[in-house]
């Protein structure tokens, strides 16, 4: 929604502060009335808890930060080891896979498939909101995700060809787009790290996604040599609690030789009134520049970085 002058008369001499306050409240109440659905408010509250979780991990002492990261990594490994200690025991060495995952540079391509309505609305016509969401999803379709451990950069292209980057260097989240220098979010603030409206999609933070899978999903099946992806470990996770707004199922293909996640298939990702299937496929493992994931001043570039400003 574009910004408008709320008060008709903006001449400072005639400015009526009470009238302005009331007009601004009307403006805010109208947005609330039409856009704050119980679902969107609930999502914001979820984000608050996610943010609290993130911010509570921010310590003043480096050693404590390192210890916390190690503990978190260990928890992922223990959690995954537990998950994989099924009779087949084919994933017993998944901890090694996770260790390798955190050290390799990986570049993924994201594709969105099969958009379907959750609730068909009147006349089955897409609403304005649906159109906006589909637009956002189209931007993500074909996006590139660079990952190094818990650092990542999401690169997506707008309809007009503009490239937008959202990144996290392990400490700071940042964003840059067409005419603006890179922006930073304060630690604990998560809103700019992924495109607006899709903050609850965990796909950009694969480490966090795996963590969530440990806690909220159960392994339903696992075997190797699936389809044409011979030699890969395959495992399917199913959501434990149906009401959670997370993908219903997540399938994972991992190369046992080097621990790289070759493919992540998120099935039935709920977003507003739509459901999507999202495929995150490994494109290459080229070593990226050391500071690829870091924020930097507007006029400085990482070697090989596209000129985006």
């Amino acid at each position: 929604m574009e910004n408008e002058n709320i008060q008709d008369n903006t001449n400072p001499e005639d400015f009526d502060s009470l009238h302005e306050a009331q007009l601004r409240l009307v403006h805010a109440m109208l947005i609330s009335r039409y856009h704050d659905t119980p679902e969107s408010v609930s999502r914001r509250v979820d984000n608050v808890y996610l943010s609290i979780k993130h911010s509570s991990g921010i310590w003043h002492h480096t050693w404590l930060k390192v210890a916390t990261s190690m503990a978190a990594g260990l928890l992922i490994i223990i959690g995954l080891s537990f998950l994989f200690s099924n009779p087949d025991n084919v994933y017993a060495d998944f901890d090694n896979i996770m260790k390798r995952f955190s050290t390799c540079d990986q570049t993924y391509e994201i594709t969105i498939h099969k958009i379907q309505n959750i609730d068909s609305n009147e006349n089955n016509k897409p609403t304005r909101l649906d159109i906006r969401n589909i637009k956002t999803m189209r931007e993500i379709n074909g996006a590139t995700l660079y990952v190094r451990g818990n650092q990542y950069v999401l690169e997506r292209t707008l309809k007009d060809g503009t490239l937008i980057y959202n990144g996290f260097d392990g400490t700071n989240k940042w964003r840059s787009d067409k005419a603006e220098p890179r922006k930073f979010s304060k630690p604990g603030s998560i809103h700019r790290v992924v495109p607006e409206g899709v903050t609850d999609l965990l796909f950009v933070d694969i480490g966090e996604l795996l963590n969530v899978m440990c806690n909220k999903y159960k392994v339903t099946r696992g075997r190797d040599n699936i389809g044409n992806m011979t030699g890969l470990y395959y495992v399917a996770f199913k959501k434990n609690i149906p009401a959670l707004r997370l993908p219903e199922r997540i399938d994972l293909w991992v190369d046992p030789d080097n621990g790289q996640i070759k493919k992540l298939f998120c099935i039935n990702v709920s977003f507003e009134t739509k459901k999507y299937n999202m495929v995150i496929t490994l494109k290459n493992t080229d070593q990226l520049p050391p500071d690829w994931f870091c924020h930097r001043l507007p006029d400085t570039k990482s070697e090989g970085e596209l000129d985006i400003n």
Binding site: M1, E2, N3, E4, N5, I6, Q7, D8, T10, P12, F15, S17, L18, H19, E20, A21, Q22, L23, R24, L25, V26, H27, A28, M29, L30, I31, S32, R33, Y34, D36, V41, S42, R44, V45, N47, V48, S51, I52, S55, R128, L129, R132, S185, K186, G188, S189, I190, H191, R192, E196
Partner: protein, 183 residues
């Protein structure tokens, strides 16, 4: 933090989210900044929950945190909009207190009269409001739909909001004078 405090916080956050969003939106236009301030307010509230005096309204305490963050945000801006003046922000807070005093369990219940006021708007004003806020059309798009100039649409939006404010005053959701607002 003990379990009771965490449970209390969970309930209070859910109950006050819509109110807090409305308060921040009334003070700031940029939606991404609104989101950030909302988030930071809640996280600060979580950290300072031990300081919260439970005999006082949680909503006001929350807005107090948001108010400081809003002022901090504007203090860093080179060009400040006229509506971010302290007097306007104070009036917004006073009007929020009036809204809170109304009957209803939720913010939506307390502001339900707005729907009645929208329905009372003349047809072209109501349509403009709905196209802009509900359908999220830009003014030039509305101009095209309604076969009017962009300026005319902007004026119509301003007039419609003023009419809604008058209607809310008549329904005692807003104060009708500075004295009443400051009470």
């Amino acid at each position: 933090m003990d379990r009771n405090s965490k449970d209390l916080f969970a309930v209070l956050v859910s109950e006050n989210s819509s109110m807090l969003l409305a308060y921040i939106r009334a003070s700031i236009d940029d939606q991404s900044i609104v989101d950030d301030i909302y988030q930071e307010t809640m996280v600060t509230a979580w950290r300072k929950l031990a300081d919260y005096d439970r005999s006082r309204p949680f909503a006001r305490w929350l807005r107090g945190i948001a108010h400081k963050l809003i002022l901090s945000y504007y203090s860093k801006q080179k060009k400040k909009p006229i509506y971010c003046e302290e007097t306007v922000l104070t009036h917004i807070e006073n009007e929020m207190i009036i809204v809170e005093s109304k009957t209803g369990d939720t913010w939506e219940d307390k502001t339900e009269v707005l729907e009645k006021c929208i329905n009372k708007l003349p047809e072209n004003f109501r349509m403009t409001i709905q196209l802009h806020y509900k359908e999220e059309h830009k003014t030039e798009e509305i101009a095209e739909i309604m076969e009017a100039s962009r300026e005319a649409v902007k004026k119509r939006l301003q007039r419609a909001r003023a009419m809604l404010a008058e209607c809310l005053k008549r329904n005692r959701l807003f104060s009708d004078s500075v004295e009443a607002s400051g009470k």
